[in-house]
């Protein structure tokens, strides 16, 4: 499609030519998407052990339905609303039954690729590609009949321009991430921005520098984060902390600052080939990437996330972020902390072997993790065109790295089970390396300046549940990669996942 005032072609189009134009449109879409066939990467190889703790239950989908889940919301009546790429909203009950045979109720249809769903006071706030919409069942017959535009205050003119919406915050605000027009450019208004939508619909630019964002929402501390994909100015996928006026690395969106006086002056142009650490000093709005997911090892295109507030129903990882990856059909965890005013944290493998590309995740009322998505368009390991799956904790405690936090001269590693002191008190059982990424305009990029910091001391807590690791040196701007495969629990178990990755933006002084 070529928007133009010259409509002669369009209105006099013989049908065959229309088909050609349609094909051309599809082709442009395909080329723009850089869908060079890509492999999906190596496996963690932990599926067989993971299933002993976190089995996956497939949720049956009636034969005639296509549920390419893009967003979930849990309703007050405990039904789960699932919004899809086909633009439909289903209300599903019975997801948590031991042998699920859920009821699917089609609530709304005819919308355009939904990647954000929030419910408040009887109204759905739907982020679809073209706008944010209030979807209402005004005559209470169980089916939506009113679709009110809350905001369409941004351009939408290129196929790559996806929109992901947050849930409503307690004050009624929504945040929407707007993907660029392609990986490199912002051709339509506010592409590459986070938009803030106030309860009355007033829409303003909130943050810039996005590339191909996915989910947005609060972390365990209530701070706002969004998910970014690997690509230009992003050597890996990452979780990024968003604040008013923040800039997230991709300068394509700078052209639209004149339309967003609320953001202040245009940031300095970042220098390609530099480091985030360096550019932070110059580009004062640049917020360093809070949690970097080393490319391939920790996903290739991470998508939606949610916070585990199940009160222990989902096992030992309360208050942590759970997120999926599209390409590898895997789930991961992340934790965050704020040091010297800057957000950073760690990511951890969690579960592989899902059946389709994961677009979004949400905890069900019974504390199971509902995952859904599709596998079309981009390379995906999972073989199903779409699926809904429920990951549940069976009550068995896995031996895992529970969380890594930073210390003035090192890290504290918490475990889910007591580490045998014969293993846990020996520094040689902790393999720690670090690397950084270049900060550059190229598509993706290598891990560079890899080194192995020497461990000064290891102090395993009396109960074996945590270890304090002190290093000789700590470097800002580096990802610290932990390989604790040599540790054993008191029961002689190996860690279910031996790796974790902590992104150091700041080092506490205390």
């Amino acid at each position: 499609m070529r928007p133009s005032s010259r409509n002669r072609n369009e209105r006099e189009l013989p049908f065959g030519l229309g088909m050609i134009l349609m094909a051309w449109f599809c082709m442009i879409a395909a080329l723009g998407g850089r869908i060079d066939a890509e492999e999906v990467g190596q496996r963690w190889g932990t599926e067989l052990r993971e299933r002993e703790y976190y089995p996956i239950v497939s949720i049956p989908i009636p034969k005639d339905l296509v549920i390419e889940a893009g967003a979930f919301e849990v309703l007050p009546d405990k039904r789960v609303a699932v919004a899809t790429r086909h633009g439909e909203i289903y209300l599903i009950s019975g997801l948590d039954e031991s042998k699920p045979n859920p009821n699917y109720h089609l609530f709304a249809t005819g919308l355009d690729e939904i990647f954000g769903l929030s419910y408040r006071d009887g109204v759905f706030y739907v982020t679809q590609s073209c706008e944010v919409t209030r979807v209402i069942d005004s005559d209470n017959d169980g089916v939506a009949d009113r679709f009110e535009t809350v905001t369409d205050g941004w351009g939408y003119a290129n196929y790559h321009e996806y929109a992901f919406g947050s849930k409503m915050d307690p004050a009624g605000n929504l945040f929407v991430t707007l993907g660029l027009s392609n990986s490199y450019d912002s051709f339509a208004l506010f592409r590459g921005f986070v938009m803030h939508v106030s309860p009355n619909g007033t829409t303003s630019a909130y943050a810039s520098g996005l590339r191909s964002p996915a989910g947005i929402g609060p972390d365990e501390h209530g701070a706002l984060f969004y998910i970014e994909s690997q690509g230009p100015w992003n050597c890996s996928c990452s979780l990024k902390a968003v604040s008013q006026g923040s800039f997230h690395g991709h300068p394509a969106s700078f052209d639209w600052y004149p339309y967003a006086p609320e953001l202040g002056p245009v940031p300095e142009q970042p220098k390609s080939g530099s480091r985030t650490l360096v550019e932070r000093e110059r580009v004062k709005q640049l917020v360093p990437y809070a949690v970097i997911f080393p490319y391939i090892r920790m996903g290739r295109s991470i998508t939606g996330f949610t916070v585990n507030r199940t009160g222990g129903k989902f096992g030992p990882f309360e208050n942590q972020l759970f997120l999926g990856d599209y390409t590898q059909s895997i789930l991961m965890r992340a934790t965050t902390e704020q040091i010297n005013g800057v957000w950073q944290g760690a990511c951890y493998p969690f579960r592989e072997g899902l059946s389709t590309g994961i677009l979004n995740v949400e905890f069900t009322p019974e504390g199971n993790l509902l995952c859904g998505g599709t596998n079309r368009g981009w390379p995906v390991r999972g073989i199903k065109p779409f699926a809904l799956e429920r990951v549940e904790w069976n009550g068995k405690m896995p031996f895992e790295i529970e969380r890594i936090t930073i210390e003035p001269n090192g890290f504290k590693i918490a475990f889910t089970k007591s580490v045998a002191s014969s293993f846990g008190s020996k520094p040689e059982n902790y393999h720690i390396t670090n690397f950084t990424h270049p900060y550059h305009a190229g598509y993706g990029g290598p891990e560079i300046q890899r080194s192995t910091p020497s461990i000064r001391s290891v102090e395993l807590a009396q109960d074996g549940m945590s270890a304090l690791i002190l290093l000789d040196t700590m470097s800002r701007g580096f990802v610290y990669e932990f390989d604790l495969g040599l540790l054993r629990s008191n029961d002689g178990e190996e860690l279910l996942h031996k790796n974790a990755y902590y992104t150091v933006n700041e080092i506490p002084n205390r």
């Binding site: 070529r2 005032s5 060079d36 066939a37 497939s58 590609s129 073209c130 009113r146 290598p446």
Partner: protein
Amino acid sequence: MYHWSFAHADCYVERQSAALVTSAVSRVLRYRIKEKASVGMKVVPAARFVTKAWMTVWIMWLGWYSGGQTECRGEVIVPGLSSKHPLNASQVGWLLRSELQCAACHGKAKTELEQAEGDFGLEKTAPDLSSVGARIAPDYLMRFLQSPSTVHPGTTMPDMLLSRSPEDRTTIATALTHFLVSQSQERFHDDSVSRERIEEGGSLFHSVGCVACHEPKIKLVQEFEGEDEELEEVRKREPSNTEPTRGLSLEHLPGKYSKGSLSEFLYRPLNVRSSGRMPDMKLTPSESDAIASYLVGQSAPDSQARKALTIQPELVERGKKYFEELNCTACHALPGTVPGEKRAAIDHSKLSQGCVSDKPGKGPRFSLDQKQLAAIFASFRTESDPKPTKELLKEHDQIALTLTAFNCIACHVRDSYGGVSKDRDLYFRGTEMNLGDDGRIPPPLTLLGAKLQPAWLQRVLFDGESVRPYITTRMPQYGNTNLQHFTDLVAKTDTLDGVELRTPSPESRSDEEKALERRLRPAAQELLGDKGLNCIACHNFNGKPSPLNKGIDLMTTRERLQPAWFDRFLRNPGGYRPRIIMPYSWPDGVAAYKNILDGDTNLQIEAIWYYLSLGTSAADPSGIRRPETKLSVSDSVRTYRGRSGVAGFRGIAVGYPERINYSFNAETGTLTGIWKGDYIRVDRGGQGSGNFNPASSPVTFAQDTSFIADWDSTAPWPVRPVMTKEAPANPNPLYPKNLGYQFRGYYFGASNNPTFMYSSAEIQIEDRSKVIDEGHRLMLQRTIAFQSSSDQSRWFRAMTGDITESAPNVYTGKNITLTVPKVKVLLREDPSDVDSKELLLKLEIPKGSSQIELTYELQ
């Protein structure tokens, strides 16, 4: 309603239900196998016989067959032991001891065998009785307890009361029944069965796999037209199981269950019987209900016998005492009961006296035939022959025992054992009959551990994964606690020498790898497609259907298979599946396609393996077509949002049941296209986001904004910003919001007809169309309603194109006529295009509510 009784009063045969299902099942099961010539592929000789002639299935119901006299013998039936199993006598005996749970009582000195049995999760458990009172009719319980093997021939439940007088038997069984029924909160109650469900249930029962272990209620007989010696020869050469299957009869079910309680059991059998001998058949509640309807039938339960039991506390108390005294607790643990003392280890020299003999004394009595007894005897280690123990612990024996215990071998072949028996063959059906037997018979388990990725095998065993939807028989689920040992076992025994199939690494590729990838990728695409080996003739690809036979999706390969097996299978399909229709593409290692990758066999196979690692982004091979989704309108109006050439990125298509449709560009507030006939086609393949296009040729208009708040009529109409390849950025990003336009959504009225809401500065606008159907004239009447806080005027661009005024207020464009209200009209040349005109209406919009009407008629 019939009860049909035979020698034993409890052997029911439901003539009527059997007759009823005959027609339904015949619909499902009658099939013909077509000539494979149309498939356009090479047919291997071994498979040719299947195509030889029309095959007809004759269906008869033979009531005597299923209810028959032979079934009322009492001997224990272990279905797996009537399959073609590989166990020697001592292993059979050992399995029988496991199935009869000898160790539950004789547990003190666990033999090594029993230890091993526990170790690999084979131990059978008895049904959970905690809710038996709700599940099973009390009168059945009473009768069953008095003589299990006469009431349910083949049961593994021993007769606990054989040594008692008839009066005692009744007394004890009554007390036990009171006790058992009192255990559950809910009570058993009868319910009604609907006839339609019976039909459906009959065809499910005979097709999803129940008859692998149970007696069919309808016998299928196969007859060929004419003799076929070649076929007979082939059949003789193949390992097949010609022994008749001895399945467990289900004739006792109408007396035992209500339709509802049986349905609940069938839906989640593992809740009651956790050891998985009766597996979960992946039935939906509705399917469980249908099968239960069929099995319970409409034989009305004897109202006398079915009288609800009034629980008598003193009988409950006595029943509990009996329950403990008789050591029922050994197998059926119930809360609040005390397990009895374990008996001494079995002394096999005394087998002629104990609970397996005719002189059981006061203990339980198992009904076993001579062969079974001999096997049990042989299963004991003797000082002179200690072999059985060691043998048993070998992995291949453990596999054989497992496959027999769960009767996997009723459906699957492994090595030289197992496989569908001749008398069950016709119940194995498929929906892709051109795939031959592989389209209906579950796959062989030979080399299973070398074939499947362990994680995939786990998913098949425990998560219900299946990649063969065309096989009607289902792979059951045996429960997470059973079969846990199985993946490791087959991984140990089943090995193939590895070949290295290269997959260029995802990142940081070397130049060499890049070059290899550039070679392999197009080659594999060609090989898979219809210009090459035409794999896609019988395989779906990446979720898209094969143009011919919808066999296993090739994209599942890397998730499921191990590379060594893949390599060998491709080279020699028939070596792995005797009757496979998959052709030999590299006979004797020589590639059939010499022009691809220089005919290098290794490289060709490697290329395919690599290609299937590309996941869902691998380009479709030639011959696979991307399915197009056509949306249609049924009995109410349909509204669909998506990008479109005719309506912009914020496009909306509205379709009416009268088969007229229009598109609306919500970004500009403009009706942009009208067409008759089918609604829209949408693109939901690949990355397609649901972009729509009219399903038939539309009349289209310019998509610029229709209303402008403040405009000098001598100026050109403000048109949409133009983005080109050279200048792709939007030069006027606020258009048309900077002209006062804002979209506000839409709502559905009667028949879901949408009203669009938008505003032009302070004027709120509602825009709704409806269909005027005058038979030969189909028109769209559009009402635009205004709500204004003050008197306003607006220019409205009603139409663009080659327009002429054909009558007062009537304007004709190409293939369309538009009738406009009587207002000031400006029809003028489009300043930027001499061939085009635009029709502009000057609207005087008063304070408050007002509206205009426009009528569109397609030629």
